[in-house]
Symmetry: C2
Subunit: 380 residues, 2 copies
């Protein structure tokens, strides 16, 4: 007797492109295994005849070689498997197989019924440009640091950066609620400092605090910051959860942009043939989870991303995904001002140039340095 | 002029043991880099003289070779850097350096002031044994599957498993809120089925649904399940966030045990010289984040963990961490009943034996199979 699922599945499916290590036999076995492991996780020969076997499990849509010992498998899953949530969607895309070697998620191909589950970035590129009144040029970003400074000193930095013309002044991602720079005090002081600078300069800089808080306190602390006048939030999705970032982005009572930070996320990309591609992780998934910009380490900085990996992130930031807006790539990680012309050559103008510690090396005068940074970006 | 931090730091520090790839010069450079990258993320030569340089940054406490091209570095950080939260603690332990190659977190050595931030497992080994009235023997666990079954069929499975003597009957980790097995209906039916079976059998089985919900709905759905009579929750910390799992565990109005699932977590352990060790990830961090048991793929199953990695997980489950209770290792992933004697030899009795699909292969009679499973475990 055939097993019928009730209500019947719609037949609509989403696709994940996996890169699989091994010769053809090995890679095909991996693909078949993924179809089972990511859905029913059940001995295939014991599955009931009918809808579960015919529809619930993954299906190999395409299988082709991509190098001597690697194959690409496009696998489709019914949209119903994703259970209507980002959490369960990630579970299907790369849950258990994150533990199996030689499997990398290369790209997601999502139908409207999956995309409609998510609002995506609140502002996206266009909205963030409007907020900052910067219709065309690359945006400028820096971080308040080093950890250990008082809120007064951090606010003084924020004032100077804003006065000099930096658009987005964010907390360093390691600023939490340390006793030497308590969050409540910090967000008031820094938001006020940036507002004061804007009054004087006529610019439209915003301050974005880092939200490194326990689940129970996240919303309260985000609202407190909003009342203090912050212009958005820095969020590390691997630390607080991709879905928690999405919830913050979709929260209308906050209504503020979010920049995603890669802290604790690197393990997904660090092995070239396992994990999740730069394109899907820093691009597609970060957009689904509602960030308006995605910070990642630029090539040639302190980290190890290649130029090609970085341009693939840009692709993931802007590949059409229906109503899910394109977002800004925000390459950072040891950038200095002499890198700017080269960065613009590669990234174009839809870019957030993030320079942190490098600004402090230029001179002690952060206003002057920020003006120089702004001029550099505007002149190009 | 020296920079003084206010309030002054207590001087108390926590330690992380890192394994670093490279020759002595390279590995030492990595260790020094970690001290900066994980704290101030600022050019070292530009740091102000005083407390930041002397205390805020990481300090190499020990540095020694562990193989021809690997070194162990023990690095200490002031407890204040962790900002009093699990989120920021993880940020310091392995935030940005997750993006840098050749660095693996081997172990955490935490003083009371860090451990006191966390409640740890609600029940731990002793509490879970009391709940299940199984003072000494290994515990039995299985999963309701395959995805695609109706709530009625899943509840029927739950009844049979419970009647046969399985202690913990959990949702398969892929069960979310799919239209064919809606969560609200599922938790009522399955909790009721297990309760009915307990009435008949005199056993004390519990049902644990999988909490694959958006942040906004997690607590509501957890409470609904509690009212329905579930005995705990299955939670995947990589999917909902380690800190969100902690919040669920510490929530007194729920007051239920949690089993941690490794979905989406594998990328942290899959590269042998990067990420986080099995010991620290599936053991120490899972305990800090409040799980009472930690599911991971046993050696010799469908996944790739070695016997040594599995025994290191057990070490992490029980290493003394003050009030943070020891938890149960729950090796699974393709286990079958013939593996039980061998598992008990290695793991001893403080173990949850998790067999999912393997139970269905034994026979069509799940009650009989469960009784056989129970007898096997009790007889040893």
């Amino acid at each position: 007797m055939k097993y019928h699922i009730n209500p019947p599945l719609t037949g609509e499916r989403f696709e994940v492109l996996y890169r699989l290590q091994g010769n053809e036999v090995e890679a095909l076995a991996k693909a078949k295994d993924i179809c089972i492991e990511q859905t029913v996780e059940f001995p295939e020969d014991l599955l009931p005849e009918g809808d579960i076997r015919d529809q619930i499990i993954g299906q190999i849509v395409d299988f082709s070689p991509c190098s001597e010992d690697e194959f690409l498998a496009r696998i489709s899953y019914p949209v119903e498997d994703a259970g209507g949530t980002l959490v369960q969607f990630l579970n299907v895309v790369f849950g258990n197989i994150s533990i199996k070697p030689g499997i990398r998620v290369e790209a997601l191909d999502l139908p409207e019924s999956i995309l409609n589950l998510f609002r995506g970035p609140r502002l996206g590129r266009d909205g963030l440009r409007r907020l900052l009144q910067a219709p065309q040029r690359p945006l400028l970003c820096t971080a308040l640091k080093p950890m250990g400074l008082s809120t007064k000193d951090l606010a003084s930095q924020a004032y100077q950066f804003a006065l000099g013309g930096i658009d987005i002044i964010k907390d360093d991602h390691g600023l939490g609620n340390q006793p030497f720079c308590p969050y409540d005090e910090r967000v008031y002081r820094c938001a006020q400092a940036v507002s004061d600078a804007n009054q004087k300069s006529g610019f439209h800089a915003i301050y974005m605090p880092s939200l490194n808080f326990p689940s129970e306190m996240l919303l309260e602390k985000a609202h407190l910051a909003k009342e203090a006048g912050v212009g958005g939030f820095l969020v590390a999705p691997a630390l607080i959860g991709f879905d928690t970032m999405r919830a913050l982005a979709e929260n209308d009572s906050l209504g503020l942009p979010i920049i995603s930070h890669p802290s604790f996320l690197g393990s997904y990309t660090i092995h070239p043939s396992m994990g999740i591609s730069h394109y899907a992780l820093f691009g597609q998934l970060t957009r689904l989870a509602g960030a308006d910009a995605t910070i990642y380490p630029n090539f040639g900085g302190r980290f190890s991303f290649s130029k090609e990996e970085c341009t693939r992130i840009v692709d993931g930031c802007q590949v059409p995904m229906k109503h899910i807006a394109p977002i800004f790539p925000a390459p950072g990680g040891g950038m200095t001002m002499d890198r700017i012309p080269g960065m613009l050559d590669i990234y174009g103008r839809d870019l957030i140039v993030l320079i942190g510690g490098g600004l402090h090396r230029q001179s002690n005068d952060l206003i002057k340095t920020s003006r120089y940074f702004r001029n550099l970006v505007e002149e190009i």
